[in-house]
Structure formats: structure tokens, C-alpha cells
Assembly symmetry: C2
Homo-oligomer: 102 residues x 2
């Protein structure tokens, strides 16, 4: 099992969208594919990346595969962002904001 870094896994909008759908509960692979403009195999490949990052889990039910959200790896991302909270909450960022919109 080739593992994928969480940060890479969430980098693609389609994969974040898959996670969004799974918030409402498990979904069959085909149903997930149906929600996207891209082909079914493309979605399947995104699901693999999410699985390798531990963000979704797969349950085989007969010939179907049910995908479940597994948010645990996001905890690390949340904690990483929190290390910067003091910066975006203070005025330390103001210089940056000014320079960004000249």
C-alpha cells in the first residue's frame, strides 16, 4: 500500500469534494462517480488517493464498495494551521495584507 501524504490528498478540489459528500454518510463508488463531471475511473483514482491518505475507508458489500469518511488525518492538518493562528489573529499579518493588495 503506497501511502499518500494528507496534504497532497487534500490538494485537489475533486478530492475535497468527495469528502464533502461523505460527510452525509457512506456512499457507493458509483454514486460518488455520478456526482462528478469526470469519468468513473477518474473518481476511482481519486478515491484511491484518499484511501492511501487514510481519509476514506472502503467496505465491500457484495459487488458494491461503500466509502466512509475517516477524518482523523485531518486532525494533524488542523493542528498545523492552528500553529499560525496567532499570526492571522494579530496585526503581524497586516504588512502582508497591504503588500498583497498594492
Amino acid at each position: 500500500m503506497t501511502t499518500t501524504d494528507v496534504y497532497e490528498a487534500i490538494a485537489h478540489p475533486a478530492r475535497r469534494q468527495v469528502m464533502e459528500v461523505l460527510r452525509d454518510g457512506p456512499r457507493r463508488a458509483g454514486d460518488l462517480a455520478g456526482s462528478f463531471a469526470m469519468s468513473r475511473p477518474a473518481v476511482s483514482q481519486h478515491l484511491r488517493v484518499l484511501r492511501e491518505a487514510g481519509l476514506v475507508a472502503e467496505v465491500r458489500v457484495g459487488r458494491e464498495r461503500h466509502y466512509h469518511l475517516n477524518a482523523s488525518p485531518l486532525r494533524a492538518v488542523n493542528e498545523w494551521t492552528k500553529r499560525y493562528q496567532e499570526f492571522w489573529e494579530s496585526r503581524l499579518d497586516e504588512l502582508g495584507r497591504i503588500l498583497d493588495r498594492p
Copy 2:
């Protein structure tokens, strides 16, 4: 100015490392490059991605360029992860965790 998505900007470990260094205060481009195994232009290109994502700001001081952290865009990432907090804090994830480590 070609903008870069924040999620893509933070996907690369080297760029997160640059941000980590900038937590301690502004740094000159050359000093940043000195902290990395890769070449100076490579770091410069990572800095561009961070700048395009609004995560760093550049201040020209004579022939130097000082890079400042601008954490504001991370706020959105933080809030995105928080939408999943209820999942990693509850037992909803347990199925996922079990299936991940069979």
C-alpha cells in the same frame, strides 16, 4: 499575477518548512535558501508559489528581498478542517480506523 490555490501551496513539504522558518520573523531570500538542501533558484520558485497563494509577502530592501509570513489564507484551511472536527472527535471514525489497520 498567476494565483495559486492555498491547498496546493501547502502541499509541498519544502513550502511548509519555509513558512515554519518565517514564524520567527522575516528572512532574506538568500538566508532561506541557505536552510535548504536544494538550490537557491528552487527555493526562489517555492517562494513564488507561496507568494501567489498570499502566504508570504516580499519586501525589497536594497538588493535584498525580505520575506514575511502572511498566515491569513490559512484561516480558510483551518475552518475547512474544523468542519470535520465532529467526525474525528466522535466514534464515527472508528470504522475507518479499524479498516485502515486490518
